[in-house]
């Protein structure tokens, strides 16, 4: 059921065959804690060089999904392949190809960024090849994440934002082919966020790193992701580019204009005919004309709400 690049409501989708060229392939991933099902059948693919953003409300299972893919958590059921291997059984050579950006909070307080990156990077050295040297040169890496000036300071004295940069540096020190980022910019100030986005673009464009990240910041998702997945109610409910998602769901646009100094706002599904009629009626008296298509945020809220309202009656039937 593909529709303008958007697969809506995966429940009716036939199970797609696993994609061999994909970096990540997940089919029917389920995760339950006792009677509580967090993931009820997640299907997702990540292709080489792609940046995919996983969105979803708190408790939807974003972190659980990422942790299964990282090999840090065993799924209850489902087919999971990451870089051609089941992460639950992955070996150290697989580990060397995967980068994980962790949200740490007080570890290595007495170390300096330079010492820590040198130490942790050393573990990747045996996996270096002529075509893919590992790890990164520490000075270059420090420069890349903007920590050159703090390279020899104690980590305990770094600000929250600088600490997160260090977390990112640790995640990519082994030059991973695939990078996982779980809410990487939580607690960043706007400048740090902008710098981080530049960094992700560089990793993706120059290094060809495939990236899967979760975030609550929809602007971030729009800016970074080639493709956005929305996880709600334990499954992927939408899959497509920010543009495609926006067109698909909240087709409503907002038209604003002023007429003789008075402001007007009108919501419409078809802005073009509406604006034409507006000009036919008032001609050049129409001023300050603005047409806003629904934002990704509107789309997201609508999708999650739609999905959750669709779930409730079903639950009532089951419990009866």
């Amino acid at each position: 059921m593909r529709n303008g690049g958007v697969a809506m409501d995966a429940r009716q989708d036939p199970v797609q065959p696993p994609d061999d060229s994909a970096v990540i392939t997940v089919r029917g991933l389920r995760m339950s804690y006792g009677a509580h099902a967090v993931l009820t059948g997640v299907d997702l693919d990540l292709h080489p060089g792609e940046v995919v953003c996983l969105l979803g409300p708190n408790g939807a299972g974003k972190t659980t999904t990422i942790e299964v893919l990282e090999g840090f958590r065993l799924p209850s059921a489902g087919h999971v392949r990451v870089l051609g291997t089941d992460p639950a059984q992955a070996d150290d050579a697989w580990r060397a190809r995967v980068g994980v950006v962790l949200q740490s909070w007080r570890d290595h307080a007495r170390w300096t960024p330079r010492r820590l990156l040198t130490q942790l990077g050393g573990f990747y050295r045996p996996y270096s090849t002529a075509t893919h040297p590992r790890p990164y040169d520490v000075d270059r890496l420090l420069d890349t994440v903007g920590l050159t000036d703090d390279a020899d300071r104690k980590i305990a004295t770094l600000s929250g934002g600088r600490r997160r940069r260090l977390d990112v540096a640790v995640g990519i020190v082994g030059r991973p082919e695939l990078l996982f980022l779980d809410e990487p910019t939580a607690g960043f100030d706007p400048q740090a966020r902008r710098d981080f986005h530049d960094l992700v673009h560089r990793l993706s464009d120059l290094e060809g790193t495939s990236i899967l990240l979760t975030t609550h910041d929809l602007g971030e998702a729009e800016r970074l992701a080639d493709r956005i997945l929305i996880l709600a109610g334990g499954r992927i409910v939408a899959d497509g580019s920010a543009d495609a998602l926006t067109r698909q769901v909240a087709a409503t646009s907002e038209v604003r204009w002023t007429l003789h100094g008075e402001r007007f706002v009108h919501a419409t599904d078809e802005p073009t005919p509406f604006v034409r009629r507006l000009f036919q009626q008032h001609g050049d008296d129409v001023a300050d004309l603005e047409v806003h298509r629904a934002s990704l945020e509107d789309t997201y809220i609508a999708m999650v709400a739609e999905h959750e309202s669709a779930r409730r009656p079903q639950l009532a039937e089951v419990t009866r």
Binding site: I66, F72, A93, R95, L102, W105, W111, F123
Partner: protein
Amino acid sequence: MSLTLHAVRLGVRRGWTEFLNSVRSPQDQGFYVFTGVATLAYLWFNRADRVEGTTLLYPTVALPSILGALVAFGVIVGPAFALAMEREDGTLLRHKALPHGMEGYVTGQLVFHSLSAAPQFLLILVPSALLFADVMPSGAGGWLTLGWVLVLGLMATLPLGMILGSVVPSTQKVGTWGMLPVLVVTGISGIFVPVQALWGWVQTVAQVFPTYWIGLGMRSAFLPDSAASLELGGSWRTGQVALVLLAWAVAGLLVTPVVLRRMARRQSGSQVAAAKDAAMQWVR
């Protein structure tokens, strides 16, 4: 195998860096100075006492026992705290995300905690040599014994600290689960009071744990042979010291990897996040 060796080498470097960071940190320096001054003060106030039935002074007999107990205590409680804390703050998870990272991490822990026994040891031993008469080991044989007792003692007790740190539910519980039992064992191990002064069954319990044997081995290294008459059975029981400590070391070597692996398997980002939330909520 060479990959593991590479990780172990990195672990040694990690342990050395941790050690340097520790001796440069005012917090750790404070701890070393505190235990050092407390021990020396205790010995100083009892410096003129004679041990019953001998010509030996109290510091002569107590110093080796206290040194042994401090080493044992340090390398059990130290790794227990470190491991519990580093499980919660993400240090361990970082290593889990590295190829052969856990091997490097564990090596780092072993090296760091073995090394950190040294400053404390020297901080007590050197001033004692200047302050008290007849407290140093007698001859090359004595120093040799001191060497092997310390090495075996470390091998016997370090794994216990690693196991404790792996099984305690949180850092805040290390005090009750880890420190308290270790203190009790130290209390009954003939460090401050001869073990013969306690009931028979307590003596038996004390001889199960490595602390008593480390203390006994230390005394055999420091004291003249005639002082063996103060011990259970009137002998240093040198062979038994080596055997018991070796048995603990082997048991540790077998059990610790299993426990560590089980603990590492359960490490995940959400566990670290939960620990962070728990640490911010002290009152529950």
